[in-house]
Symmetry: C2
Subunit: 624 residues, 2 copies
Amino acid sequence: MTRKRLLVDGGAGVKVPVVEVALSNGETLRLYDTAGPEREPGRDLPPMRAGWIAERGDVEPVSARPVAARDDGRAAARLSAPRAHQTPDDPGIRGTGPRETAQTPATAPTPATAPTPDTAPTPATEPMGAVVGARPVWRARAGAAVTQLAYARRGEITNEMRFVATREGVDPDFVRSEVAAGRAIIPANVNHPESEPMIIGRRFLVKVNANIGNSAVRASIDEEVEKLTWATRWGADTVMDLSTGPDIHTTRERVIRNSPVPVGTVPLYQALEKVDGRPAELTWAIYRDTIIEQCQQGVDYFTVHAGVRAAHVGLTARRVTGIVSRGGSIMAAWCRAHGQENFLYTHFDELCQIMAAYDVSFSLGDGLRPGSVADANDEAQFAELATLGELTTRARAHGVQVMVEGPGHVPLDRIQHNVELQARLCDDAPFYTLGPLTTDIAPGYDHITSAIGAAMIGWLGTAMLCYVTPKEHLGLPDRDDVKEGMIAYKIAAHAADLAKGHPGARDRDDALSRARFDFRWEDQFELSLDPDRARELHDRSLPAPAAKTAHFCSMCGPRFCSMKISHDLRDLASVDGTGPDPSAPAGPAAGPSVPVDLATTGPSAPANAAPGPSVPVEITTPGR
Amino acid sequence: MTRKRLLVDGGAGVKVPVVEVALSNGETLRLYDTAGPEREPGRDLPPMRAGWIAERGDVEPVSARPVAARDDGRAAARLSAPRAHQTPDDPGIRGTGPRETAQTPATAPTPATAPTPDTAPTPATEPMGAVVGARPVWRARAGAAVTQLAYARRGEITNEMRFVATREGVDPDFVRSEVAAGRAIIPANVNHPESEPMIIGRRFLVKVNANIGNSAVRASIDEEVEKLTWATRWGADTVMDLSTGPDIHTTRERVIRNSPVPVGTVPLYQALEKVDGRPAELTWAIYRDTIIEQCQQGVDYFTVHAGVRAAHVGLTARRVTGIVSRGGSIMAAWCRAHGQENFLYTHFDELCQIMAAYDVSFSLGDGLRPGSVADANDEAQFAELATLGELTTRARAHGVQVMVEGPGHVPLDRIQHNVELQARLCDDAPFYTLGPLTTDIAPGYDHITSAIGAAMIGWLGTAMLCYVTPKEHLGLPDRDDVKEGMIAYKIAAHAADLAKGHPGARDRDDALSRARFDFRWEDQFELSLDPDRARELHDRSLPAPAAKTAHFCSMCGPRFCSMKISHDLRDLASVDGTGPDPSAPAGPAAGPSVPVDLATTGPSAPANAAPGPSVPVEITTPGR
């Protein structure tokens, strides 16, 4: 067996990475790959999409917002200052660089296909400044609509769509039509050219997000970049940098420049750091400054807690676990302190205009998600979901791509309702859920309590699953936790893909099962989600090299191996003629001869599988 | 917090163990306990049920079948003998002890409420011999029907039923009626008085079985007894001793005498050892001798692969993974070798008569279960299931309790069909499934691939889940694997109980979530499925004792703790009067004010919850 990364042709010069596993029997299997190109020590990833973005001719370089010391939110620096925080007008926030020039119009671009709603505030001037390092910063030209949604609506198939189509094994125009309908998104900030495009939508493979990021009590930039690389090695389709500790800007910069997958953030965390962690002192100006900073860095999607309306806060009063979303609790505290509506809600259109100019997607945050099974599917949760539906419509009107976040903690019997309600209220925008955890009683094992819910909700149509690690509720995940969380969620996502009948999803299972039945141990390991673990567990009992070709393992030993007996049985049948009648039905594909209904059933209306003609993985048999 | 084992009154002098957790806020929570009484070094568990069994007056001591060297299937001893195996007539098998005396009639008891089918063979003489050690061996008196099913049908509420009712928090007559209907079983061999009764049925808490047992390449009696104790410490409701290696009889003896939970076996494994691992040399006589040996030792349920009919074998010919059940493959090989019907099928009534005399329950084995998602729900699987339905009826006619085993490897969308079909074909006999694994691609993590399927199938009505450890497909589980498998399955079973709406199931979740919201860290740990792990993961980041009372953890740090902010918000609301309107709806129980349907939905007809009036766990608040 060998395993190598290949680039396959996606048309129009697009090259798409796959991992090809060559098996000991001469077959090969191609696997979806998220690890990105090989890293060169000390260098950022190559800007693969830079040419695609430039060729479209609809973005232009802007002098970037200058980086301020405050952007890194260093607690020590902040605490030593005479004032607890500064306003956005202070040079400390805005820097002393040149103000915006005529090169870039002060107004955000008008979406090409949708009118700006009446409620949209007049776009304010964006702060401008020096270019960050040597990296150019791009933004839409005046009047240009540069989001994948805008292209899709205009009928344009972008290279990003071609890339995605090849990865998913579907037709590029199918990708375009799903994006145009808002049923799928391709998070792809023009300032993150290092990313390899991927798609989030219920008719595509279920995706997994890995959260990384430091906190005030655990922090190291290198550690976070290593977690990123580690997470994508184990299959993370996106990562969210949820840093809340020191060096927040610099950590994010290193993460984005080294990430082959889209990067999401919760800009509110950085904004709060800028006001010393005092929710009441947050302002739209500070938040706005923060999102421009992050748009220009290359963040691909923002979690925005605009659905936590002031009127919803009281609905959480009698909950067992109150508000468990950090962003939700911050905005609730702000609303209470000011007696005003959530400023993210009131400034939502301006937010859309800024994000549209960089093609940053929304991940509409569920700030009131339940934090315990007791609070699942309650009024607060669904009141917010209705607001998220309204915001979905508004964001799409600005040409901004939207997905919607979901719970949380939900018992199995209440999961389907979440999926159906979200699809209805949010017009089929992709659903992106945290788990859900199906019980509260297993801290230390919440990757498992939630993988159960994740598999179920993925099957029912959730497009992306946010992983949960064993440390959930207990501490910040380290490298090992990241891996445990990733594997549990790749399992959940794949179980969902199988259940959805996604074309080609079963090829890997079948290849592994054939290897298992043939006692091709090394092939079995290599086809595993975690070859290292599979090999290690096998070798703990039978470390000898000969055991890798043995027709048994330590589980049953040679005498009781059912597969060995099965083989003997088939050998016997082929020799003595007592074998199965060749006219007998051919197993799974054949109709039943017993009086039972073989039709599979399940919860009503599972998600549709992609109708594309080709498949994302394929078995090639030598000589055919 | 303290945690102690209490005995609570179950009526009629029955004392039922519970674990009471005393929380730091003065509340207590009572938990179902499977760990059994504290072990005294070097001593077997006390025979708690001995008095109950004797009092009924329907069993009598028999001179037990003598133990032969061959019973331990020692490979070395066997291989040194001039002949590969001996026939049952050889002294080596039967021993030289006295033959059956007049004390015990040669015929098996006639079931009280059902006629012996015409097809029943004339019961043969059972081999008798010396008492095993000092332990008396019991069997039904002539004409007595001593199974819990027989008592239930006669309207008798046994102490076993009282014990179970208290554990489950339901009315004893509800237990009786479910057992009488065959919808639940209480595995309770009269020769296993050490066991604490438990019930397996879809209207009760979902149970978990842990497999232990050695194989030819890994073996130690002490290790297996330690695995048993370890498994019950983590919540195993039954254990199966699947030993196939040396010392098979002695290992089982130590396991049963030390097990506070019912013990299951697959007698075929020992029978095969008696014929040197050659399936074709198996005979009914050898198998019959083996089950009598095990009935007299105290095994509570037997997996019997009587449903693998000769005609089914050919249906597996084109499967990806053939036959993956050891028992299934052994019987298929036997059928092929002899060109005859499965001897377990043809001697099924005699088997029932023997098992009825000791109240050993059937676990009708699914010898043709799918071993890969490719083979799920195929003709072979369902043909066997139809046969298991027929055998369920026959066993019940003999008064024998029956549960039915299920798959295996099944993708999520095909699980519901398995449950519905089993219920229909097997007249609602309890379903007992292995997982199912929802994908084949994660060896090393099959406790997770299968916990997903187990939670789903448990919700839909499966009564007991057979755990799968991380070593599945790779090797024999060790102590750590046993724990990982147990925790994953306790999660799955509990997630199912929550989804079924089992009364009281959510109390532990709610208590833990309240502790979480109140930052009562020690309470949170103590209420966890694995307090050690929860504490350890927390302490890896924040080891200082003060962190146990801190109002945050390392996950978010003090500044971003949503729960802390939630508390601040509630404090603010109560002080300044801006709090929630006291007339506002009280959360989950209240009706929605948003235009959405709050009704939870799910796959059709999840299992009914127990209608009993009391609950198995309860919160007691001091002063009330």
